[in-house]
């Protein structure tokens, strides 16, 4: 994209993709502010790399960068558990507070969803999140993840099956408590 990514175009891309990217990243970090920061970090990286990114690939590049940032932040969160002296970001889920459902019930349900999504294999989760939130075609998702188109569908199916299994198992455990 030789000098064709202007600030105006970048901002237009942000408006167009912010919500999808935010929802994808949120399923890794589970924190509203952190998810937004990571999405913006992806746009900053795209801006820094604008001379090297082909115009045909700009969206794929953006999603790939943001997915990588989310995965790295998730890894960082896992490592932070072993570092009690480090000041941690607030991991409270502000979205939960605003919901009309009973807080404890929702908290428990959200916790189950987090656990189930966090247990998905990394690649399956990436594929599933892109399918659910990006509104891209399988062909476009295949390009972002650099995998065959058929693999997108099979990964999505397997991820959904695994997610359902995890949620049903957790529900069974809850009902036995």
């Amino acid at each position: 994209m030789q000098d064709s990514l202007t600030r105006e175009l970048l901002e237009r891309l942000y408006v167009q993709h912010e919500k999808a990217l935010y929802n994808i990243v949120y399923r890794w970090v589970w924190n509203a502010q952190e998810a937004q920061d990571l999405v913006q970090e992806g746009f900053l990286k795209l801006w820094e790399a604008r001379s090297r990114v082909d115009s045909e690939s700009v969206e794929a590049y953006l999603y790939r960068v943001v997915l990588n940032l989310a995965a790295k932040r998730h890894r960082w969160h896992k490592l932070r558990r072993f570092l009690p002296g480090i000041t941690l970001a607030n991991t409270a889920d502000e979205q939960e507070e605003r919901d009309g459902l009973h807080h404890l019930e929702r908290e428990r349900a959200m916790s189950n969803i987090r656990l189930a999504l966090n247990k998905l294999p990394h690649r399956s989760k990436q594929t599933l999140m892109l399918c659910e939130f990006s509104e891209f075609s399988y062909e476009q998702i295949a390009k972002i993840l650099n995998i065959p188109v058929g693999t997108v569908g099979s990964r999505r199916t397997n991820a959904l099956r695994s997610l359902r299994f995890q949620l049903e198992r957790q529900d069974g455990n809850d009902n036995h408590e």
Binding site: R7, L10, E11, Y14, V15, E18, K19, Y22, N23, Y26, A32, Q33, A35, Q36, V39, Q40, E41, F43, L44, W47, N68, L69, K72, R73, R75, W76, L79, L83, G85, I86, T87, Q95, L101, E105, R106, R108, A109, M110, N112, I113, A116, L117, E132, F133, L163, R164, L167, E168, Q170, D171, D174, N175
Partner: protein, 112 residues
């Protein structure tokens, strides 16, 4: 899907915090350069520590406010690292004893 989760959709489309575009504009104009003075001091510290424990050591020292974004940028360079250890000045010795059990640890010195 289940009794406890039937009210919630795992793929519920959440709305990002307001003001994202303005925040992005601000970040685009920020000076994102690092802090050379802090890094030089940190490198000296790191060299001494690396020699003491025999680690392959990568070290950064900088104000906490800049640390997180720098750490994330550095993660890209260390894809193969098995772990990343972050310590503050008051617990360096204890943390180093953890690091020595893994030769692939990337070690950061966080200076306040």
């Amino acid at each position: 899907m289940s009794r406890t989760t039937e009210h919630l959709d795992p793929f519920e489309k959440l709305t990002p915090p307001a003001g994202g575009l303005n925040k992005l504009r601000e970040r685009l104009t920020d000076d994102r350069s690092l802090y050379p003075g802090w890094i030089i001091g940190g490198v000296l510290t790191a060299t001494i520590l690396a020699g003491a424990v025999g680690l392959s050591l990568q070290e950064v020292a900088m104000p906490p406010s800049a640390f997180e974004s720098h750490l994330l940028s550095q993660l890209e360079r260390y894809e193969q690292a098995e772990a990343i250890l972050v310590v503050g000045p008051d617990r360096d010795i204890a943390s180093l004893s953890v690091a020595t059990s893994n030769p692939n640890v990337v070690f950061y010195w966080l200076e306040f």
